[in-house]
Symmetry: C2
């Protein structure tokens, strides 16, 4: 049963859409909605529009419900400063003090962090990381995000933005990354990375495949996954190469923080065992002896589609210790 | 002035020698000595011999001095279990409960961790990491060790042995590492790694060099350093390639825990700016934008030769909060 006397608002700001929902301390989403994130809109206009939409569902909540805080997951969010800094897909300028903008409308505690960090707290409060002191979550979507929990606390580091495994180096002479660097993990193991690997394989291999009838932009990681399930050689090899690189870099990650478990989430993680099983095998292969059998690789324990809002809500629930 | 009423014993167990010393809470080494670590001796015999030697200097301490605890730095030490596990260079079997062995002789709090972790705590208490909440130390010796401090605490992780950056992957098809894996960082950026890089360069390049008159085992990282200072092209290139790989993997490390500073210590770090300057440049080059200008690369602030004992002593001083 949900306790609607103390609720929080979880907001997940994505490049194309922003989801938000009221959540109780047990992780029940009481009501939720979505608005478009308009890339060319100013941050001020965006917040004002978001406020309108939040209030539309807020007035339907029981009168006894009390909003205790707001948690926000957003790209390039700095936990310490409450800012969103140089977001790649938004026209918000260099640094937006997003928490201050929100506080014009809501005089409650507000926290912000990047979406992967929020997902980590969500997994800790409502998913399969409950009771774990050391774990890590990797979000495999358009890009690659990561949230690291150490001794039960989100690792933010000196900069406030620790845990950007998507921009560790796979190959210093490798693929261009949208961040400007070369050979970043994100350029290989994101949904976009899988498509790039397919293109590379189409060049290198001779096997026939329906993928040869698609343009670059027609190929999606979902289509590659579906073809892999049907036994398409190119698609299977693309997932194997993706898994090898991911497994290798996860073994590196273990050599840093030694988590009890690594959770995979995001669009590409929906490939399930097609990705998870070989990734686990490669990770174990690359693991330093001292870490063998100390770390599990698991799918997120949060219901598909709920992770973003629950993660953002968990961020503030965790801080308020509700 | 030293406070000898409350002292601790710091012990550093190395592959060939073991150093120990009595240390006060301000980091003054009151007295110290060294014994040989005999590779073929049992752990029990080693501890018994160590005890004799410790007592030899202990009886010379003022009668008012009180031993409050013992800190130990050792290869493959597990902080949580108090054990030394599968040490590569010692004939001690799979798992030695080293803390229990020591406690037969000393009924005081005893803690053990690997030497790089001890160095991290030493740097935090007595070196240039004083006041830092997030930092990392890299020991560049025969091998590569690392100690990571997060939120002011040593990161041990779920396994108890977090922070083994020496065994992250530089090249999955690369050099054999003594750990059994291939292409580990340690195979490239240790003192031994530099020598291997020289051998590779002697094969690839045509420049004349005194290094061509030395056998593999005659070449040492110290000699390579001395030749680099004299402008030897092979030696300079060896340090540049070492710095590039180290800089790249340090940038990866920053993307995990986002430290305020990374300290370099150990034999190879004595090359000073010959290694430090290019490593900093490469690290900055490989850093993800969000971390630019957030992390310093520094030499250890602990006096050369004192780090091992002070690190081990700091481990227990930190726990006792003396």
């Amino acid at each position: 049963m949900s306790d609607i006397n103390n609720i929080v608002l979880g907001i997940d700001i994505g490049g194309t859409k922003t989801s938000f929902g009221f959540v109780d301390r047990k992780g029940n989403i009481i009501d939720a909605n979505t608005i478009e994130t308009k890339a060319n809109e100013s941050a001020e206009k965006f917040v004002s529009r978001l406020y309108q939409k939040i209030e539309e569902i807020r007035i339907c909540l029981p009168s006894t419900s009390s909003l205790c805080g707001i948690g926000i997951g957003a790209p390039n969010a700095n936990y310490y400063r409450g800012t969103i800094e140089k977001p790649v897909n938004l026209n918000w300028g260099d640094i937006v003090d997003f928490v201050a903008l929100m506080q014009k409308f809501y005089q409650v505690p507000i926290s912000i962090t990047n979406d992967a960090n929020a997902a980590a707290i969500g997994e800790m409060l409502f998913g399969d990381a409950r009771g774990m002191k050391h774990f890590m979550i990797i979000t495999l979507g358009t890009g690659v995000g990561s949230g690291i929990v150490v001794d039960g606390h989100l690792l933010c580091g000196a900069s406030g933005v620790a845990g950007e495994l998507g921009h560790t180096v796979v190959d210093p002479e490798g693929r261009q990354c949208r961040c400007g660097k070369r050979g970043c993990l994100e350029a290989y193991v994101s949904s976009n990375g899988v498509v790039r690997t397919v293109l590379k394989l189409l060049a290198e291999r001779c096997e026939s495949s329906p993928l040869r009838e698609m343009t670059h932009h027609e190929i999606t990681s979902k289509k590659v996954f579906e073809l892999a399930q049907k036994g398409d050689k190119i698609a299977l090899e693309a997932f194997d190469q993706t898994a090898r690189i991911l497994g290798m870099k996860l073994a590196d990650a273990v050599a840093h923080t030694s988590p009890e478990a690594i959770f995979l989430t995001g669009g590409l993680a929906m490939a399930g065992d097609v990705l998870l099983k070989p990734t686990k095998q490669y990770m174990d292969y690359f693991l330093f002896n001292a870490y063998k059998n100390t770390v599990k690789l698991l799918p997120s324990g949060i219901e598909t589609g709920k992770g973003a809002i629950l993660g953002a809500a968990a961020l503030i629930l965790n801080e308020l210790a509700l």
